[in-house]
């Protein structure tokens, strides 16, 4: 897990749930990625509290980019 995601996971605990999926080693990881239409790694899928997909970010993200996407979910 990237240090940026690790930091943000701690910071947003109780506000946003982080689900980190290794598409190669996690059971059904590739299937879940496929269900979301994820074609590249790393990718980030953001869902609202109702489960609706809000965003799909592809590629390495800076802390600022991820933070902005997370704040948009609040």
């Amino acid at each position: 897990m990237a240090p940026v995601v690790d930091r943000l996971k701690t910071e947003y605990e109780g506000v946003v749930e982080f689900r980190l999926i290794n598409v190669e080693t996690d059971a059904e990881g590739a299937q879940i990625a496929n269900d979301f239409g994820v074609q590249y790694v790393p990718s980030f899928v953001l869902l609202g509290g109702d489960g609706a997909q809000r965003d799909l970010l592809v590629g390495e993200m800076t802390e600022e980019q991820l933070r902005a996407a997370l704040d948009a979910l609040k």
Partner: protein, 156 residues
């Protein structure tokens, strides 16, 4: 006009002619290329190599590409024709940069690296996720009431 000046003019004209021929042939210069260059190289029959993992390749890949993960590239490429054009790509361009350097050091003469990787490719895709989920419609997932961030990654 002195002999040296004549030679200089002749050399200059020759350089211009070679440049024009090279440009008009449509063959990209080895190194970083864009989508248009890749399309031209595909028509030329270049070997297109996806250096991502097998799982990533299965999800989606550029049509006509073969999968040789970066970790296997040196061993597999050892049997390839070093004079033929080879295009490498990955997700966003990091692994393909390493792959291109590796192939060049092995003596490959025409190595091309798709800048930005498959993430910015706008041509045909093949693979399971080529028909992706409709945008904005998430598959059924267990909800906790909180917003969720999924990160999809690999260890490479």
């Amino acid at each position: 006009m002195k002999r040296a000046q004549v030679l200089a003019v002749v050399f200059g004209v020759a350089v211009v002619i070679v440049a024009i021929v090279a440009l008009s042939s449509g063959t990209p210069t080895p190194g970083l290329i864009d989508n248009g260059d890749l399309s031209r190289l595909q028509e030329e029959g270049a070997r297109i190599v996806d250096v991502r993992t097998a799982a990533e390749f299965t999800g989606a890949h550029i049509e006509g590409a073969e999968n040789v993960p970066l970790s296997d590239l040196a061993a597999v490429a050892d049997g390839w024709d070093r004079t033929a054009p080879v295009v490498v790509y990955c997700a966003v361009g990091d692994r393909s940069d390493s792959a291109a350097g590796m192939l060049q050091s092995m003596g490959f003469e025409r190595v091309y690296d798709l800048g930005g990787g498959i993430a910015q490719w706008d041509g045909a895709l093949a693979g399971g996720a080529a028909a992706a989920t409709d945008a904005g419609v998430a598959p059924q997932v267990a909800l906790s009431g909180l917003p969720i961030l999924y990160e999809f990654y690999t260890d490479w």
